[in-house]
Subunit: 407 residues, 2 copies
């Protein structure tokens, strides 16, 4: 008998028919002798509809009230799933964050989980009841309802699994696992049976939409096995776990990409301490997240600094950078919001040379210019023109032998 | 400075525009120097839509989960009203039943309020914040979400007013007060400036839809002044309070009616102890509420028993009564589901004769048969054919001089 926490996303519970399908899946898992706890998101687009309603009331709704409003979406889906389970003969009970309580920090909209009250959940599990827990929401120290950020239900599930000492945390979603790259772009992309936490962190951080970065971090920190499964069809999915030191890691596991990027380059900066800070501080202060940062080696006492931001933040970031660079005479600021990032990720890179060489050679043969290159232990990220992205991903997928039909 | 609890019903907060209108009304009351706490129902038909959704999931949803589901409707409206108030410059905070807590018994769907946690509300009021409280919902001893029955938000408001020692509890609704009778039936019906608790209890119990019986009972028990006001137009409304012993009470205050009745008559029952119980017990055991019960004086050792039930329960009640009566040979059971009840209510009846005489004379002149008559200290109820109801109400309204233009 295993203790399993399952998380179903909004699409998986998007209709009454889908709720019944999920109930059948949960019931089967419980009938097979497992203890099951379930975390659910709000149904389909209901969170978006609540946000819309709030914005109709006022353009900038109070964050505390916004959280109180949004949390109702998950309360609806938990109650409906518990009803469906009970009507199918599977004892179940819904729980919201105030009831457990699922304690978080008090920052509305992006609270962090601090403690999961497990008493009621363990009572349910011990008596054969499936607890159905509202994802995404929490309870602040002062008793306010909080939310933990979009996609936070993944994190709720991992936190629950860790607190309950579950054997596995299963994320049921609309894809059947983690792929070598997006199958919509590369038809022979292959589902990976296992991925290490480190690889998954790089993939999630580099644009893979399968799992939320925070949930992976949380699972990695606590060594909680995560499994990505389809809620629409059976299958083994992808297991995300600690790397097995006895198994040789694949050199390259997958290729993630992200075409929402924009690049800003400041050239001819003086090569002196504090320059990078002076240029980037105004951007960071404006709450704009900076992704890749590359400083080229100095040349005649001058350096070039390039960084990327989300495309939505491009205009503001460019203006702030121009302002910051103005204090250094002779510099130039250039921006490009038609760029895309791709990242080659693999734990085996640590011990294998030649991964970067293959990348440079392959993209060179395809006639694709590299705008920026940044490397970590198990990842090489490059920035390319957006219109070249697809060709680059396909060529690299083939070059690293990631396809279903291995070369 | 007064402390006022206001309750706004579903129609009053039925749209974003209506929520802004309510916010403006609350803000004005607070700006006039009052401490204001607000109780709201779910928006418009949202409770009905949630019930429908649950019934799509399963025909008989689990009552605990039904309560958890329905409570979300009021959480949505409280958050939106708090947002609207804040955006209008009026500090406000939403509160649900789990947060206060608003403690109830543990019976799903019809829990009773046991205690209102006031700490957070008094903190809000003391610091000039308007607390916006979710009506209709509660928190069971075991932490489950409960609901206190439809229309329960009126009761929530009174319970809050009592707990906070408010000066007045205002029920804002779609009518501007309590009328001598339904103005849709009698055009010259008059708004009553004041009504005693007793009269209001009889009016509410006899079919007046303005206030919930439970809320009036609660207010009467604690001597909490209730005021019915329109949320759509200004006006003094109707104050419901203790009878002033120094003011002569009106002989007749109003006429309530209810056309959802059905009558069942059992004739020629033996005149012996336990007969009424034997006939009515199966009906009561089936959870069917019996309203009027009249036993006619015995005649040749035989009595007739007539009672009324809600029209929806007629078929089942008739069958149960036939079964019960079968053990008494010679009895006959007859049913009629085309009857209506009307009740003439007035505190002054206690000290005035002739009210019943006027009723009998007036209905006699109109050629209307009385099917059943039942009296209490301040009320005379009669059962008439449903198709005669309107004529009966109009004639009595005129006969008692209740119209705007007094005779």
């Amino acid at each position: 008998m295993a203790l399993i926490v399952q998380k179903y996303g909004g699409t998986s519970v998007g209709s009454v028919a889908r709720i019944h399908a999920v109930a059948a899946q949960v019931h089967a898992l419980a009938n097979a002798g497992n203890q099951v706890a379930v975390v659910v998101s709000a149904m389909g687009d209901s969170t978006d509809r609540l946000i819309e309603l709030a914005r109709e009331v006022c353009p900038h709704p109070d964050p505390r009230e916004m959280d109180a409003l949004l949390a109702t979406g998950e309360m609806v889906s938990t109650a409906l799933l518990a009803m469906a389970l009970r009507s199918a003969g599977c004892p179940a009970r819904s729980w919201n964050a105030l009831q457990l309580p699922l304690e978080t920090t008090g920052v509305p909209g992006r609270a962090r989980i601090e403690r999961v009250g497990c008493k009621r959940l363990t009572e349910d599990l011990a008596s054969g009841v499936v607890p159905v827990v509202a994802g995404f929401q929490g309870c602040a120290p002062n008793g306010d309802v909080t939310t933990i950020g979009r996609g936070g239900s993944d994190t709720t599930a991992v936190a629950l699994a860790v607190a309950l000492k579950a054997d596995e945390c299963q994320i049921l979603t609309d894809v059947d696992g983690v792929y070598t790259t997006d199958p919509r772009m590369v038809p022979d992309a292959r589902r990976l049976p296992t991925v290490s936490f480190e690889e998954m962190l790089e993939l999630a951080g580099q644009g893979s939409r399968v799992l939320h970065l925070r949930a992976v971090e949380f699972a990695a920190r606590h060594g909680m096995n995560l499994r990505v499964l389809s809620s629409f069809q059976p299958g083994p999915g992808t297991l995300i776990c600690e790397e097995d030191p006895n198994v040789e890691a694949p050199v390259v596991s997958g290729i993630a990409f992200n075409s929402d990027e924009a690049a800003i380059a400041v050239t001819h900066l003086p090569h002196e301490p504090g320059v990078a800070h002076a240029v980037l501080a105004p951007v960071a202060s404006a709450g704009i997240e900076v992704d890749m940062i590359v400083i080229a080696a100095p040349n005649e006492g001058r350096v070039d600094l390039t960084f990327t931001v989300h495309r939505d933040d491009f205009g503001e970031a460019l203006k702030l950078t121009q302002g910051a660079a103005a204090r250094y005479p002779g510099t130039a600021v250039a921006g490009d919001d038609r760029v895309a990032k791709l990242a080659v990720v693999g734990s085996g890179m640590r011990s294998h040379a030649g991964v970067a060489a293959t990348l440079f050679k392959t993209l060179g043969q395809e006639g694709i210019n590299l705008r920026l290159v940044s490397t970590s232990e198990i990842k090489i990220s490059v920035l390319v023109e957006e219109r070249r992205l697809e060709r680059a991903v396909r060529a690299l997928h083939a070059a690293y032998g990631l396809g279903a039909a291995k070369p």
